[in-house]
Amino acid sequence: MSLKRYILKRILYSLVLLFFALTLNFVIFRMAPGNPIQVVASGMRLEPEMVERLIELWGLQEPLHIQFIRYLKSTLTWDFGYSYNSLEPVSREIGERLGNTLLLMGVSLFFAIIFGTVFGIYAAYKRGSLFDLTSVTISLFSYALPTFWMGLLLIYVGGYVFGQFPLAGTMSRPPPIDPILKVFDKAWHLFLPSLTLFLFQYGFWLLMMRSTLLEALHEDYITTARAKGVPERDVLFKHAFRNAMLPLVTNVALQIPGLLNGAILTETVFSWRGLGLYTWSAIQFTDYPVLQALFYIFALVTIVCNLIVDIVYGYIDPRIQF
């Protein structure tokens, strides 16, 4: 089978998976306690006509299968209905926050992978040295500490003790007008949350890289490379690293859901206006349309990441059976 057919198969498989995720997402919220009208109506007294109108607006009077098909159609067209809480369109609210979350996750993941793998490679190269020992110890620490605790600590140190960084928020209020200053203002706000999320991941990457490399270094083909006269640097960076790349790529996908989890905590601690904070407040308000949309997006991200990894794997691992 060719690479093309393999990729096609993976895409098809992902679509099936997506369908299941969508169905589950529908069923869960139908079975969840409380009906939306009650949620919205709690705290305010609604006229019966008003309730009627809401039921009609949200299509709650239709039979379930019609509701399901409508749900599929609207979800796929990025129309998630209205927030019970703000009564704003969910897609707009998500759109405003998605960028912030991607920025936070992207920046921290990028640096965590770069620093984690580079130091991991170096630690493997200098195994048993003081450098190796300290970086492993630090990694174990940063990996094991709870994210919210790390976040609070950084707020205390960076925002209070040194007073250099904002305690919360995504932008200064009012935001600077000059576009360059705006970028700086964002980066300034981004620093502590992304550092928190960076520390959450960095240790993982370092330890993972180090151990897969050390494992690869014990393989027979490494002895062959050395026997051929390959210099030690190339033994590590070419022969061992190319093989250690494979678990690295897999782990990027496997880490994303965990990273979302970390992002929710980090955004909450820092009041970073992203999907994490949005999830948190939606849970507080039992805001079903928002939660449903968010769960869908999280599932989508996970499925797409896995698909990308499968495809990349097809290119870099010659042993993949198409």
């Binding site: 083909y221 002895t223 062959t224 490379a225 026997a227 051929k228 022969h239 190319r242 691992d317 010659p318």
Partner: protein
């Protein structure tokens, strides 16, 4: 002339349980253009000895004493860089035990062969290197277009051939083959042995063949070393060893592996009782004495016997050699 002369070599591994004396006072030599076998049970130190010729010992292993002279150079005193650039693969190459994993799974076979050429012939262009790699594949009876494929697409026998092709890439003077046929089925074993024999004749190679299967060595080698628990107990021309084994261990080994031509021997199938000693704590005296039918007090008390001349092409290390069978 001798291409390789090893004298009184000791190679020790440091482990948490103590020092493993994997090679403990070995003399070994390879005459130019000959093929020398190294036989012995699993764990007696054959691979360790082979790896020490290329200074490729695992991190916890080191040469404790002794000398290794290769084409007049003292291997142990050559600095790392010179040794890597001038000796490894260029003058001594190795076919590894378990070639299944000896090729890197993520690189094309021809690229792995070409890499060896590149390391030792900096002037050659990429295209020429690949062409040379394909010629080498042809030489070991692999379709040269297979070079573009990855090791997992090769069968066990083909991988072993590819490994042999790679070992020949830089026209080495000495090739060490560690268990070149183990884990292959009988027909493929035969093909690989024929190939090695043919290449040796064609390229005027000197060859060290390591195997626990003495019948393989019988077919490939001119001389045979018998190793037991880190020491060479008998050395001699192949026919000397087979027809007139002087060490009781050698005798046991030969009876365990009847050669194909030697049908009658099968009837006197004799196994060596017991197991080889733990090299962390080998027995005092002759290492073989706990399993030896002829052991006496002197074998238990005296230090291990030195290897002594029997005839021009036969040396043995035993207090009570077996009598002449003829």
């Amino acid at each position: 002339m001798n291409i390789l002369v090893v004298s009184d070599l000791r190679v020790y591994y440091q482990t948490t349980k103590g020092v493993v004396k994997a090679v403990d006072g070995v003399d070994f030599k390879v005459e130019e253009g000959t093929s020398v076998g190294l036989a012995g049970e699993s764990g007696c130190g054959k691979t360790t000895l082979g790896l020490s010729f290329l200074k490729l010992l695992p991190e916890n292993g080191a040469i404790a004493s002794g000398s290794l002279m290769f084409e007049g150079d003292d291997i142990d005193s050559l600095d790392e860089k010179t040794f890597r650039e001038e000796v490894r693969w260029n003058r001594i190459s190795m076919i590894f035990q378990g070639s299944m994993n000896a090729l890197n799974p993520v690189f094309k076979v021809e690229d792995q062969i070409a890499e060896a050429i590149k390391l030792h012939d900096k002037k050659m262009k990429k295209r020429e290197r690949i062409a040379t790699a394909r010629d080498l594949l042809r030489k070991v009876d692999i379709d040269p277009t297979m070079g573009r494929h990855y090791p997992h697409e090769f069968s066990g026998g083909m991988r072993q051939r590819a490994m042999i092709a790679m070992a020949l890439a830089c026209d080495p003077h000495l090739v060490i083959a560690d268990e070149p046929t183990t884990a292959l089925d009988v027909i493929v074993q035969k093909q690989i042995m024929d190939l090695l024999r043919r290449l040796k004749a064609e390229m005027n190679l000197s060859l060290v063949v390591i195997s626990h299967d003495i019948s393989v060595l019988a077919e490939l080698c001119d001389y045979l070393n018998i190793m037991y628990a880190g020491r060479i107990v008998e050395w001699g021309a192949i026919e000397e060893i087979f027809e007139n084994p002087r060490h009781h261990y050698t005798h046991g080994l030969i009876s365990t592996f009847p050669t194909v031509e030697d049908e009658e021997r099968k009837s006197t199938f004799e196994f060596i009782p017991g197991a080889p000693p733990n090299l962390l704590d080998p027995p005092l005296g002759c290492r073989f004495h706990p399993r030896c039918p002829a052991a006496t007090e002197i074998c238990r008390q005296e230090p291990p016997p030195e290897i002594r001349r029997q005839s021009e092409k036969h040396y043995v290390a035993c207090h009570h050699q077996r009598g002449d069978l003829h």
